[in-house]
Amino acid sequence: MIRRILWLTALLWLPFGVQAKEAEYVSGNPEMHDRVMDVSGELRCLVCQGQSLADSHSEFAVDMREYIQEMIEKGMTNREVVDFMVERYGDYVRYRPPFKSTTVLLWFGPLLLLGIGVAVLYFNILRRKKVITETPLSKEEQRRAEALLKKDESGDSQA
């Protein structure tokens, strides 16, 4: 029994030997790696949908990152690289949509919905306040209510 427990505890240490690997890159230079990852984090992996180029291991993303690295090595700024891609693949390639007249709804849509929700809630509460008017109990009702409560307390309820 003790042996078994020792074994299992030893096994628990196994996962620490494994390390998560980042998407691979061509150059061994960490500064270059950071820049390539910065730029590719801004760009969508078109074949995976819902992933950036930095997050994807697809062949397409690996090629793109290689190309991006070459462009950076040629001295292009991050912005120029992103612009280069937008020229070819359209605004859709940006992982963060740009703020333009066509994307206003995309940016402010959720806020607009929240506003509508708050307004509906507000007017509902107002209306409800008007509907509920307090009507005090009459003498007779008061007496019956007390009688009922007393009956319950004395313990002979037949519920």
């Binding site: 078109l46 949908q49 937008v86 693949y89 359209g90 605004d91």
Partner: protein
């Protein structure tokens, strides 16, 4: 009464929107390339590695550029369409052989037939990125001035050829040189 109708109206409107959404193709990314000059390229030819193929060679004629690969399954699907097009001689078709092995590509053409006037061998896929390609097959219609006029994503069908590509080619051909 009206307040009971509101949820119904919202439901119907939402269903309508979602129903229309069913027919969109999420992989159909609009190309910003239409009516822009086709990027310049110079690639070794698939069959004659010592010769090059470039965009400027094709200036003065309307031509199609088809991105293909021997490993691409839907390329096989559109292949008979291109074989027929090649036989008709209506418009020259050039290939961009994307991330392929030379041997595999030529074997593929020998097995299924070669509809291309020539194919550029883009082993690293760089020219394809320059053309905004993100999946094979893709087909571009390029006019006499070297301007991209149309892009077809996915396999070309007989229908797409007859209804979209060929009418456009005819229009571009009759436009002044």
């Amino acid at each position: 009464m009206a307040r009971y109708l509101i949820p119904l109206v919202i439901f119907v409107a939402l269903s309508g929107v979602l129903f229309v959404g069913l027919f969109g193709d999420p992989s159909d990314v609009p190309s910003p390339f239409i009516d822009k000059p086709a990027p310049e390229f110079e690639l070794p030819r698939l069959y004659q590695p010592d010769q090059t193929m470039s965009r400027d060679e094709m200036l003065g004629k309307v031509w199609l550029l088809n991105v293909w690969a021997s490993w691409c399954v839907s390329c096989r699907q559109e292949h008979p369409v291109f074989m027929q097009l090649a036989r008709s001689g209506l418009v020259p078709l050039y290939g961009l052989n994307y991330k392929d092995e030379r041997q595999a590509a030529t074997t593929w053409l020998e097995d299924f037939g070669n509809p291309y006037v020539a194919s550029g061998y883009d082993v690293k896929g760089r020219v394809a990125i320059d053309y905004g390609v993100y999946g094979v097959p893709e087909t571009f219609v390029i006019d006499k001035q070297g301007v991209i006029r149309h892009k077809h994503t996915g396999p070309v069908t007989y229908e797409a050829l007859e209804k979209e590509i060929l009418p456009l080619v005819r229009k571009l051909n009759s436009a002044g040189s």
